[in-house]
Subunit: 349 residues, 5 copies
């Protein structure tokens, strides 16, 4: 949980950046394209955006870095964004969701990607889809959208001919695809764990199970609202999304359902592994107790017998018998063998 509490007492629509600052300066990149032409450039100030807005073609503005509250405010003014939207773009603890503001559609997504420290990392990406323009806001610079830029540069391909909604779809699609990468990574860990668990059930394995479980919980929490958000777009009757493109949003929706299915399967596998772990621990206790019991049950009677003939009574006839010692050793052997037979029958040995 990021520090929401620093906004307590402020009115709604107050612009405060909640989240980590990854880059020093926000970077604004602009792509303008239609079927025939493509312009790519980096924008230095919000003022430059104002004049770009009304030119013909489809405009894609990507902002990397959200710490510059003033810049966001200016962009909001230029594109006529509601203060609550700006507030949500800045608060990087939003749940994925989509909202139709008539003039534009506001979409919040989580970009999940693997991290060095074993666990994955979630970055918030906000998309505003307007008439002929798409705004995308990222917490930091990332290569995520590079394949889309590449596809835009190629003249052939549907994307140059299609509208702003098709570009927005591509952005969302590339974000959702990242889930598959993270899931394959988790799958690998689960398979590794499954093998290790059988060989050697240590407490560290338990810890890994719980860590994976927690990761899947976090993933799942972001997937359900994501599904609702895409579902809203897919059933949208907004003029901003062309009817023949709705099927592409349905396609994303199908991907998300497949991802949720996989996450659920993983959770059930982990639950099953936890069961196996716990039962193997109690199996181990049983094994320890068996060893203890076998040793104690064999040696206690023998030690008792040895103790009896170690007594110092004056009159103990057996002690005088010449074959007494070997006799008692034989008796002990018989007792020990009897015990062993008893354990065999109980299937303890």
């Amino acid at each position: 949980m990021k520090k929401r509490s620093k906004k307590v007492g402020l009115g709604p629509g107050s612009l405060v950046h909640i989240g980590n600052t990854y880059v020093e300066n926000s970077k604004i990149t602009l792509v303008r394209y239609d079927e025939d032409s493509l312009v790519e450039k980096e924008i230095k100030s919000a003022a430059d955006l104002r004049e770009e807005k009304d030119r013909p073609g489809i405009l894609w503005i990507n902002i990397d870095g959200l710490q510059d509250v003033h810049l966001l405010e200016e962009i909001g003014m230029i594109f006529g964004l509601h203060p609550l939207i700006l507030e949500d773009i800045l608060s990087t603890d939003q749940r994925p969701r989509a909202e139709d503001y008539n003039d534009y559609i506001f979409i919040v997504l989580k970009h999940i990607h693997n991290h060095v420290d074993q666990s994955f990392h979630a970055e918030q990406i906000s998309i505003v889809l307007g008439k002929n323009f798409v705004l995308s806001f990222q917490e930091k610079e990332a290569a995520l959208f590079d394949p889309i830029r590449e596809r835009l540069r190629s003249v052939k391909g549907r994307i140059r001919k299609a509208g702003a909604d098709y570009l927005a779809h591509h952005l969302m699609d590339s974000i959702v695809d990242q889930y598959f990468v993270v899931l394959e990574d988790i799958e690998e860990k689960i398979e590794q764990l499954d093998n290790d668990l059988v060989r050697d059930p240590t407490p560290a394995r338990l810890h890994t199970i719980h860590q994976l479980k927690r990761e899947l919980i976090v993933l799942r929490k972001s997937l359900w609202p994501l599904r609702d958000a895409i579902g809203l777009l897919q059933r949208s009757d907004s003029p901003l999304i062309i009817d023949s493109d709705l099927i592409y949003f349905k396609d994303i929706s199908d991907h998300i359902i497949a991802i949720i299915d996989t996450v659920d399967t993983f959770r059930e596998m982990l639950a099953s592994m936890l069961d196996i772990y716990l039962s193997s621990v109690s199996m181990k206790l049983n094994e320890i107790m068996k060893v203890l019991t076998i040793i104690a049950t064999i040696f206690m009677p023998l030690t008792f017998l040895a103790g009896v003939y170690g007594m110092n009574f004056k009159y103990m006839p057996e002690l005088e018998w010449p074959w007494g010692y070997f006799g008692i050793l034989t008796v002990m052997l018989v007792i020990a063998l009897g015990m062993i037979l008893f354990f065999r029958r109980k299937k303890w040995i």
Copy 2:
């Protein structure tokens, strides 16, 4: 559960104060404002309210302390409140909810705040939103609404220009924001616990887990009806809420969903920690049993051997052998080492 049973046998609409009495005298504060002017004053008796009611501008009456049943009754009469509403304001064990009575909307909320004794405290706040007036009823005086008063005093800002519904939204928003503060406190405790659990799993930790679990259950129980209540306002078609303000109620709704999400995540983390605790306890039992078994398994055979040669048989040839004693010590050493090797192979040591 507060003592509901003291109302058993009374008819519906009977005014009885259920809850704790925190203040000696109820305190009534009045704020009247429009775009140009602001009046703040303290009201001594309900009679003064009657004449205030019909003056122009937006009226906000805040009552701290609910034990004065007669006062509530008078206020109810002045503002035309239904007896069941008054009954609910007085019964501080209400679930959060919102109800549209056409002439006014009645909203019950819980103000959650941290308490000295580790746990949090829930105070009931009732809000009545009417045409041009807002009534708020608190169990005791609190600084909760002070930032709103401050914002009202400032001439600029949307709140002075907006209607009574926008003020009511501010009141609710500031109540909901308090949940974030409580949750951050709980998060801290969970993180602390998570570290401690690995280091030292004592029964006290278990107790803390269960206490936190119980707190989250209580929180969750108040959050779901709260969500429904705000959802009702958000989808309301009451003329008391201006259409362009509906988005602000949706904003509160989003906050509550985020809070519920966090509570659910915490609950799942606690469930996970309980698992770890229980398994670390059984691990500890295993460790204890291992030590016992190792000691018993090594010393029992040795003690038996010592016992054998402590027997007093007349004819025991080994006793006569000059190297008998050292021989048997060697045999014992070999047995002990064998046992230790056996445990090594079983990975017990």
Copy 3:
């Protein structure tokens, strides 16, 4: 489960009394009132009812004791009740429910009250709300409705001016209020148990937990259909319920939801207490094992050493040493202290 099977093979609408017989003779009390007058009398036979039925004013007939199948049949004929309703009034294993038969509304409720034997007792009360009359059927005479009779006797008060539906509401309200009393009793037991559990976790506590759990299950089972039944009345468009009275049924509905909430909270608290109980039992096992292990681990090596020097070998040089005995005692002491240090480091002591 009461003996339903004794009706197997009979057709629907067959009148058979299922349940306990508490009173020898059914007792019929009649109250007739309007704004100006009130008549209360005891009726001896069903025939007397026939003439009472069509007089002006609102008629409330209360029947205590259901074993007189013939009487019920006559009442049914007089008020035009469907045979299935009579069957349900007689079968005291009905779930709470409400049914609109156009000419009258049939409502079944459970009157829950504390019982001497620690657990609570559920009695079925059926209410038939018709145009200008209310019939109430109880399994036995009870003081439950006395406050309502009292309120009827007083000239002022809404109840004398209102219709039959308002009287029916009062009856239901007084039945629902009894749940609060039972819940407060259960709450007390839970709190008592919570304290005792920490002090002394005996199997008897477990038994109490399970008994309380079972009681809450039974309560919950009757509450959900009750909620549906009241909900049906609250949303009813029957002319038998005046529109302005619907809010009073909503009020009962709110009470039931609050009761369900409380029951759920209690169930979760009991689940939590069960966890604590089980873990304290396994804690105790650990403690026992620790004591055993400490004792065994200290004394086994010492006993072995004593055994060694109890052997009767001819040549055992240590036995001859003058300080041998005290030396070995010192060695034993060192071993014992070492062991104790080892356990200290493991935090077992």
Copy 4:
């Protein structure tokens, strides 16, 4: 699961009998009645049915034994049944359900009855309700419908005056009533078990718990679709069911809900009993461990002391003391008593 796989590869509507064959020859009994007359006879061949079909009055054909696929086919042709219906009548692994085919309503039910081998037995009964006729198909001859035949024979009684739907209702009602008998049997077993569990928790009890649990699962699985089926009839607008009879189907529906409620209560009681069983097993382990620990803790130090004075050192001054022996016995007694006191304080004894 009956052998469904023998139909794999066959097209839909292929008539194959799936289930056990209980009777050698199918038996067809015919009842034709109206308000004034009643004819009962046994039919030998399907051909005889053809002429019976169009006579006036209400016709009830009951078929016992389903193995005669050809007979079923002929009946299907005479009454115009869809091949899929015939297929379902023959496959005795159908879930309870009702289907409206416009010309007739097809209903599948399970007749549950107690069996000698402790568990209950489920037989499939299919009912086809057409205009003026009812067909009922049973796997074997049973006395189940005898009370209905008896009631038909009596001239008075609603059944002779009512339509085919009322007869179908009676058939279904008598099937549903059997559930109560089975449930009372299960209740008895549960109560027996509850008493035994406290006295003597053996593994056999656990087995009984699980067996009962499994039976309840099977019951429940058949009850939910049954409820849906009856619900469909109850809300049906088919002309085959007279409006004033709908309430009788609602009555069956209420019975099923009561049965489901009881099954759920039993399941929760069994879950609770499983908890008690498991905790009593672990209690027993604790008790065993306590005995072991007490014995070991008392005798180990004493045995050690005895061992010390059994050593053969030359110089052991205590051995020479005249009161040495009695002194050491006293020391041992003191140690033993100290231990016992220690256990008393720990509440182990």
Copy 5:
């Protein structure tokens, strides 16, 4: 999870084969039939399909092997399939589903069949139902559809007279029927396990339980979307499905519900078996502990006594008594018998 990640970065509608390649060359078989004629042939290239498409009669094209992306693309062009459909046919990790594209209905199913390695295998089969044509895509050649070919070859039978939708129904029906075969196999394993568990609860049994549980989870995951898909067809108002055939899709739907029911019953039986396994393991621990405790409790006091009379004190009067030795043996016997009696009373022996 098949390697979805290799499609990351590609736009939607990119044709990539995801899944295993079972056959070297795709095999295309064509069946064209009407009431009077039937043509079966193998097609070598997509070009041949183009001319076949518009001939009269109903056309069924079956493609075995999906690795030939180019071929699929050509078929897609000929029959006018949307690129997203082709993408889904190629990605063999799709969930079962049905989609109405107006001109055709696209259906994805999983063909489940038993495999040599104990577990079952799922193959994706896609079906496109158009006006007068059916396309079916299989991952590899299989005998699954052979009975349908056989039925087509026979002149009599409804299938030759019915439309393309009835053929599609047959394809789906034969796929769903395979589930029954797999379930009967699982049922056999569960019954085997149930018997073995009582006789000999080894960790291998636990492993089998978990493996079966996992298989059922996988089955269930494919069944729910399958049910939704068929449900969509069953309620479809597409002109591609003739109204009188809807009942056949309902029939499949009923089969799927029966399958889901069986899977759920199996899951509950496995859960129950897991409980029995775990409790039998802890029973075993109790038994082991009992043996240990009995042995220790009998021999510890005896060994102590022997130790006492093995002490070397000068003055130990008992040692001098002529009947001392036999006396102490008797005492030991009495103690041992007393212990045994004690255990009898505790029901340990």
